[in-house]
Symmetry: C2
Subunit: 785 residues, 2 copies
């Protein structure tokens, strides 16, 4: 997925000589099966990943509270009013996130329904006049133009807007910052591109993009995103830190799901189960608030649109795919079809994951050839889709309208369950009902209940086969695309087919079979349980379906898990994002962090009062983002030997750059007073992460001066002893949300350095460790505990 090699080189050139002696490696080889690094006894990290469609330098986030003197001082001085203000703003931002997400989601819906609606109406009008060829060119042409616009935007302006964005959000909440992912440009391209791609009738949903849109809004409000487009409002400057941004993005992701499915509880649970890494009760509550705001906004718009002011927006309520009118009757024997749905759904889901992985790798090769190739790929998928959607219905036989149908039959309008298409009056084309409509309506039609004979089995088979192909080939193209809807479409077709195959054995309605089929394929591919269960409940408004849905989800997930990881994990791996899993691998118990530190280059430490030249040298020659600060020759309080060393803490690269920029220099080697540093720096300034050492000019006179690092040092970094097992260190690292973890010696002896190493996210990744310690791979078979 690399655009062109120059871009890759640019990313690589950010690396310094310290890494230059490592073997050159090809970032495209970044995949599940090919080794990223050559096997060596050195534990090296690779801060590159595919972001959007290009290889970028990724950075870890600082979720740990940086307890330096400035922070502590500010913390002590915070008044009650400021605290209340902070709480108030926190909730205001959560409200704003919900409000904006709800508004944008409504706008997207309005735009899609109107564009696709008028397009379909025009096509239907042409068909009614038997002008099939004109209809074909009209349909294909409009779809082509819509795809073109979406694709051009994505390719030229914001490559990160392509795809669903959910894996990157997952990575962000896990502690990995992906550049340009949550910026204003991405947001705008995502909105417009999503409208274009969905209106173009491509087999993709607006659900994933909406989650990304919610997160972008949250990140922008939290003053994140690329530097040039950042919001820098004074009144929310206290939120300019990774922790608060993380919470806000969680709210944004929930709001997105909520807006996509009109499922407020499902949205919260989706964030909880799939997206978020850290979670606490207070956040649960705030997320819930955001989704409540979204629902109120959606509800208000539905109220307005019901009075017909929204063009073709329709008159739907809060329930997207209502099947509440079906009376669910089941008994013990229905366990058998339900189990079958679950098992087949699990198998199909993992097969889908498997093939999607292959196709994404193939697309990767195409996409890296350049922008034109990306565009051509998108456009050919669009053409193929349009041709299939328009031509396949001609294969289906016309079916006679049954007078027992409660809906009008046949219809020529935009929506409707019985499309006339090429059929004579009194007849309908069941395949056109499914294909010549928006994806949302297709789901609604295939979920339609109490209509057992509506769809012919061959029509369903054609539909299923088509959407299997489209689902695999559409996802990787350069437009904003969600995975939910393609999987629901595939799953519902398979479920309905199974319902027909079951025939008289079961009394469950075919519409419910379609719902259960969709649920099973979702669980088989995405491997969620509780959140999917609630989302389906909120989508279909049929509580009595719940026990069946639960069983189907459990079975499908179990079956799927025995084959391959979830689709999001596959994409995370494919993109090379260093996601930290909650469970340590079993072999990590047999390795100590001391051994890990030995496999790394020696740790670079700074003195408490350090020479400017040394700092500049260290910053220029390494890419590390944190340096332990050590005081030599301190006098310990009681009776110990003179000459002890002391670990003062950890200083961040960003703060060192700030100190250089602000010329926080001392003529002599002395410790500063607290007021001195407070005059020079404010807590808010230290929150800024921008600033590169390349941009700082230091004169040769200044090079000979000193910097007192003490007041800028985080005095309370988390530490582990060198005898600690990697498994337990990983638990600490991930549970507490660290960026750096210091390794301290277990020996207490004079002259020893008080820190023997430093561990980062990359050092704790199973893959990297196994590369450095190949013998451990043999014992991999054991269970994850």
């Amino acid at each position: 997925m690399v655009e062109d090699s120059s871009q890759m080189e640019k990313a690589t050139s950010a690396h310094t000589e310290a890494e230059a002696h490592e073997e050159e490696r090809d970032p495209e080889s970044n995949s599940l099966h090919q080794p990223l690094l050559k096997r060596s006894r050195t534990l090296s990290s690779n801060p590159l990943a595919l972001v959007g469609a290009k290889v970028s330098h990724i950075e870890s986030l600082d979720y740990e509270i940086n307890e330096n003197d400035l922070f502590k001082h500010d913390w002590r001085r915070r008044s009650k009013v400021q605290v209340l203000q902070y709480i108030f703003l926190k909730w205001t931002l959560a409200c704003l996130v919900g409000l904006l997400t709800g508004l944008i989601a409504t706008l997207i819906n309005l735009a899609i329904e109107n564009i696709a609606g008028y397009k379909l109406l025009a096509v239907v009008n042409l068909i009614e006049k038997d002008r099939y060829i004109a209809g074909f060119f009209y349909f294909t042409g409009i779809n082509f133009l819509l795809t073109l616009s979406a694709s051009v935007l994505c390719v030229c302006f914001a490559p990160t807007a392509a795809g669903p964005g959910i894996p990157e959000i997952k990575a962000y909440l896990n502690g990995v910052d992906t550049p340009n992912m949550f910026g204003a440009r991405t947001l705008i391209v995502k909105i417009i591109g999503s409208i274009g791609a969905v209106s173009a009738g491509l087999d993709l949903g607006k659900e994933g993009p909406l989650v990304h849109i919610g997160s972008c809004i949250a990140s922008l409000l939290g003053q994140g995103g690329p530097d040039n487009y950042r919001i820098k409002w004074g009144w929310i400057r206290y939120f300019n830190n990774d922790r608060d941004r993380r919470d806000l993005i969680t709210c944004g992701a929930s709001s997105g799901v909520c807006a996509a499915f009109r499922a407020p509880v499902g949205g919260v649970l989706f964030s909880l189960e799939e997206v978020a890494t850290w979670w606490r009760s207070a956040l649960l509550w705030r997320t819930f608030f955001s989704t409540a705001v979204v629902v109120v906004v959606l509800r208000a718009f539905i109220e307005i649109c019901n009075s017909g002011k929204c063009g073709l927006f329709g008159t739907g309520g809060l329930i997207m795919f209502d099947v509440s009118n079906v009376t669910v009757r089941y008994h013990v024997m229905d366990v058998i079809p339900v189990t079958i749905i679950g098992i087949i759904g699990g198998v199909l889901g993992s097969l889908y994951n498997h093939f999607l992985h292959k196709i994404l790798r193939l697309y990767n090769l195409i996409n890296q050839k350049g922008k034109i190739h990306k565009l051509l790929l998108s456009l050919s998928v669009s053409l193929f889709t349009s041709v299939c959607l328009y031509c396949l219905p001609f294969l289906a036989k016309c079916k006679a309208c049954d007078p027992s149908f409660t809906e009008t039959c046949p219809t020529n309008g935009r929506s409707g369950n019985f499309k006339q298409f090429n059929c004579p009056d009194g007849y309908y084309n069941d395949l056109a009902t499914l294909l010549l409509t928006t994806n949302d309506d297709a789901v609604r039609n295939i979920f339609s209940s109490n209509t057992p004979s509506e769809f012919h089995i061959t029509s369903l088979l054609i539909f299923f086969a088509l959407y299997c192909i489209l689902g695999l080939f559409t996802f990787g193209i350069a437009v904003p695309s969600g995975l939910f809807l393609p999987i629901i479409l595939m799953g519902s077709a398979y479920g309905r087919l199974l319902g027909i195959a079951m025939g008289s054995y079961t009394k469950i309605d075919q519409g419910l079979y379609a719902v259960l089929g969709a649920a099973s394929l979702m669980a088989g591919s995405m491997r969620m349980t509780v959140s999917l269960c609630v989302i389906f409940l909120e989508l279909t408004n049929n509580l009595l379906l719940l026990p069946m849905t639960m069983i189907v989800l459990l079975i499908a997930k179990t079956v799927g898990d025995s084959f391959n990881p979830s689709i999001y994990e596959i994409i995370l791996e494919l993109k090379g994002l260093p996601f930290l899993d909650a469970n340590p691998e079993p072999w990590m118990r047999n390795l100590t962090v001391g051994e890990l530190a030995d496999a790394k280059p020696p740790v670079i430490t700074l003195s408490g009062i350090e020479k400017v030249s040394r700092i500049v040298e260290v910053l220029k020659n390494t890419t590390h983002n944190g340096f332990p600060v050590i005081d030599d020759g301190v006098v310990p309080p009681t009776g110990l030997a003179i000459g002890a060393t002391e670990l003062h803490g950890l200083i961040l690269r960003a703060h060192l750059v700030q100190a250089l920029k602000k010329k926080w220099f001392l003529q002599e080697k002395r410790r500063t007073e607290e007021w001195e540093v407070r005059e020079k720096f404010t807590w808010v300034e230290l929150a800024e992460r921008e600033g590169k050492i390349e941009g700082v000019a230091v004169t040769s006179d200044e090079m000979e001066m000193y910097i007192d690092l003490h007041p800028l040092t985080n005095t309370t970094p988390y530490t582990v002893m060198e005898s600690m097992s990697v498994a337990k260190a990983l638990v600490l690292f991930r549970q507490v949300g660290l960026r750096h973890m210091l390794i301290v010696p277990k020996y207490e002896a004079a002259g020893a350095s008080p820190v023997v190493g430093i561990l980062t996210r990359q050092d704790l990744r199973a893959y990297n460790i196994l590369t450095a310690f190949p013998h451990l791979a043999k014992s991999r078979g054991a269970e994850k505990h």
Copy 2:
């Protein structure tokens, strides 16, 4: 709540001389407002808490993996088959927990419905014959006997079965073991007592007890509980550890909620939001599986009972309080009544918490006078309840049956919305409809929709006032009692009253007002959001109510939180259970763990190869449960000074006792080989926590021998440096789930001890720290971050 002083002394006598010099304190003073400990500069911990109704010695749980040599050896040797077996058993146990909880819940339901049903039928028969006095004595007498049986069981056999048990489960999952809480005796008494208490018409629910029952089943299956009744099956011996037990108990609690409300997703979320401290995706999934099993069991029984084989059990479906037949129509202006419901609900909820706290303190004084007083208290509450339930309906005026009612009116059966009671034919007594019925039916009746004029306002006022009084005075008596139903009853009455008061302003149905009122009071008292939302959704089966429920819950929780903590937190504090909150207090940033360690007695360390006499002495004279193991004079690997000391790890008291019991003695001071220790101990044996030093006999010859502690020592305890702030140490302690945390020095100097202190749960509790450092209390105002 202390039964008699002898019991208290017994509990206290478990303390050793090390604590004897501390001032004698009164465990009854254990409350929110009175200080537990005299203010001193020594940070002392109080391992006592109210469990059930008596003061007991509580212990922390070992959620940390004890990586000693034996464990590591066993871990390495685990074959794939064993691992698969482990996973299979894990799921089997989760299934069993769901199955048994579902079965027992059904049994309890059957018993209650039948006992209460036949009781009410007999009373109605007497009333029909105008034998009011006989009816009164029959009603009161039966209720008295039922209460007596429940109460006698609780008082004499299992005092821990009284109350809801949810606070203790919360504490367990936070890492505090409360003795006798999850035993077989508690389980049986809880089941029978719950049947008795609910059938007796007391104002309490079976919901809380069901959660406790689920947890008891889980704990017993996980081989927990008091030693004498423990299950010790060989095939699940690998589950005999606190971690697996914790997971299983989480499943049990979810199953309990699910069985109580027939709300599988709500059950999972309740555990997640309210009960559990640590959570991970895998557990979410397993919990979901347990609740799915419960639903299947419930569903199967409903199927059986629908064919009339369950006596008076009725013909209900999976939805307990169905209001799905109401068409919810609302527009923007309905925000006002919804906000009012939320605000009043929040105020009422916090008032309820406030008064319940006062009354629990009062009951505490009564209960500690002895068993007879406890019994008398329960019986007088029962008498008062019976008198009110029977006599108050006579105050209500008879209302004429409206022919527009779809239900039969009046009825004399067990259930029914229009009870005839003392009224002539064609009339019904609306207060009798609410009072002379089971609590479940009362909720169903008051939720009844499309019946705006069913209840007279005075009847509702009487009902509300009565249940406010009963709700406050019933909870603390010595029977198994849940808080959910009393609050729902109170809340629904208040909601319906508000609905009447709103009059023509709103078009929302009065039944929905009752639902929203119940939700608001729940949120105002229990302060849950997402889980309550889903539970109410699953209780009422009306998805369109969701946006309103969400807003009501959010407002009620916000209002309630501004007054006092949630009811469970109040009970936890009242019982003195050392619950660790996720958020550190702000002033904890200004205190280091080193200062904390200075305020404690010096840490007691053991040598790697220690004399038996020293170990016996240490075990006898302290109550500590973990001791750092230090090696002196080791030779560090590279060029450091000889005479370094090394922290080898931490050894648990239980393992020291095991070593003494098994006579793992050495004649000379030497390190043992790995095979030696493997011959003596198995990993499974070390999982046993029983065994007191008092029961171990060591001869004077043996006293002079040595024990090699190395192979039994956990070599990877979590450590913090002495300069670490308490806030961050608390985050580590709580996030990773520790029992002991070692403090290591930040100086690296010869001759220094490699460990300067040890911190436990009690040392990190805000209250205890503030007692030792009173000056910090001043800065308490700042915000929790």
